[in-house]
């Protein structure tokens, strides 16, 4: 994770950033601390930190730093010039943690666009931020099959804004973010009883931008319906207020990068 010391919205690279409400940095810091504390206390997670850097407001969204698997990491190569200066900082942090870092030759936004399902398959997004050819690098590097899912909505610009693999083969996702092909791919690979869809309203509240550690699922202010559905599947739901980060188009998952 990376503390939101310099978090603000001063450029707009996704539709969420075009809102009028300014970021309350004090509140953002409190919300981020709450997430970090909850991850540690509720799920026993260990948290490593990337040092915040002035002028890099989105460094707080560490999910985009890289796709990490085993002892290697494919570093992000951001599509938008505004975020490219983050790359050397993420590289240095990953190397300091002992990862071998691989640079992709094309735009690729890390774990924002590549999620491991059941440890055996990568569900990867393309079109908005990541180029589909980056998925080949994931396959080649990790010898894992990849399912490439086109993201056709600017609001759901990373696959982790509309899809979240959970333990036990469960999959939380928003069907409205995918086309008919993407939905068929999901349906062909995830059994019906394991699929948990969210509504448009829940998706816009970043329900799919959730983090799972152990049986705990951390997410922004879940609806009663979704909380119930997750509980029925045996998960412990940890609802948090991450509203300041929603103004930049991110939530719990975007604020974290799973290292192992």
């Amino acid at each position: 994770m990376s503390s939101p010391d310099y978090f603000e919205v001063f450029y707009a690279i996704n539709p969420w950033m075009k809102g009028d409400a300014p970021v309350d940095r004090g509140l953002a810091m409190e919300q981020w601390q709450n997430l970090k504390t909850a991850l540690k206390r509720r799920a026993g997670a260990q948290v490593s930190l990337v040092k915040p850097v002035p002028g890099l407001p989105d460094l707080v969204f560490t999910a985009n730093a890289a796709f990490v698997h085993g002892d290697r990491a494919i570093l992000a190569h951001f599509k938008n010039a505004e975020r490219r200066p983050e790359e050397p900082h993420f590289r240095a942090s990953l190397e300091a943690l002992g990862y071998t870092v691989i640079e992709p030759p094309v735009p690729f936004e890390g774990a924002g666009d590549a999620l491991i399902y059941e440890g055996r398959l990568v569900l990867a997004g393309y079109r908005q931020r990541t180029e589909v050819s980056a998925h080949q690098l994931i396959s080649r590097t990790f010898d894992l099959p990849v399912l490439s899912l086109e993201l056709h909505s600017e609001h759901f610009y990373h696959v982790d804004t509309c899809l979240c693999p959970l333990e036990g083969g469960h999959l939380l996702y928003y069907p409205g973010a995918f086309d008919e092909y993407g939905l068929k791919v999901i349906e062909a690979n995830v059994p019906e009883e394991k699929r948990l869809t969210v509504t448009g309203q829940e998706a816009r509240n970043f329900a799919c931008n959730a983090v799972q550690v152990g049986r705990c699922v951390f997410l922004n202010q879940p609806s009663a319906r979704l909380s119930e559905a997750l509980k029925r599947r045996g998960f412990e739901v940890v609802g948090l207020d991450l509203s300041e980060f929603l103004k930049a188009g991110g939530s719990a998952k975007c604020l974290t990068l799973r290292l192992n």
Binding site: S133, P145, G182
Partner: protein
């Protein structure tokens, strides 16, 4: 009429990307042929497909390529054509690009009669004036013959 060879590489089958690309071409109403498809042997191997497509104009072709680019489609036709040397007179090299005329018969004196020479196999060989259509049977040892479809554009009469 313009034609081009398009190529895409990646997770084409399980991700339904090839199906999507072909559907887009069909929806545009263009003719196409799946010229080559190499499917990865294992689930995580990559696949490669080549699609020959015909559009009414080069602008249509450019628009189609632009639309499909996001799925990893690129034009192969800008690459130089490849030629292989004939090692035995009258025998086209393996993978030579060959053409036959459509089966042609003429109703002559009440009978459909096959036109002599309509079964000729044509290849493209490099001659002093440039690439030239040559009967495969008339190839000479040392002739350079076009192989594959790289660097090749064909007109409307060659449509499937």
């Amino acid at each position: 009429m313009t034609s081009a060879l398009l190529e895409l590489h990646g997770h084409l089958i399980d991700s339904l990307i090839l199906a999507k690309v072909i559907d887009r071409i069909q929806l545009s109403g263009y003719n196409y042929v799946l010229a080559d498809l190499r499917v990865g042997a294992r689930k995580h191997d990559l696949s490669t497909a080549q699609i020959q497509v015909w559009t009414p104009s080069s602008e249509d072709l450019e628009a189609l390529i632009q639309e499909l680019k996001v799925h990893g489609v690129h034009l192969v036709a800008n690459e130089e054509a490849e030629f292989a040397t004939v090692v035995q007179a009258g025998l086209a090299p393996e993978a030579a690009y060959t053409r036959h005329l459509p089966s042609t018969e003429v109703l002559y004196k009440g009978q459909w009669t096959e036109v002599m020479g309509s079964k000729v196999q044509w290849v493209i060989a490099l001659r002093s004036a440039g690439p030239e259509l040559v009967r495969a049977s008339e190839l000479l040892e040392g002739d350079r013959v076009l192989i594959g479809q790289r660097g090749l554009r064909t007109g409307a009469d060659q449509q499937p």
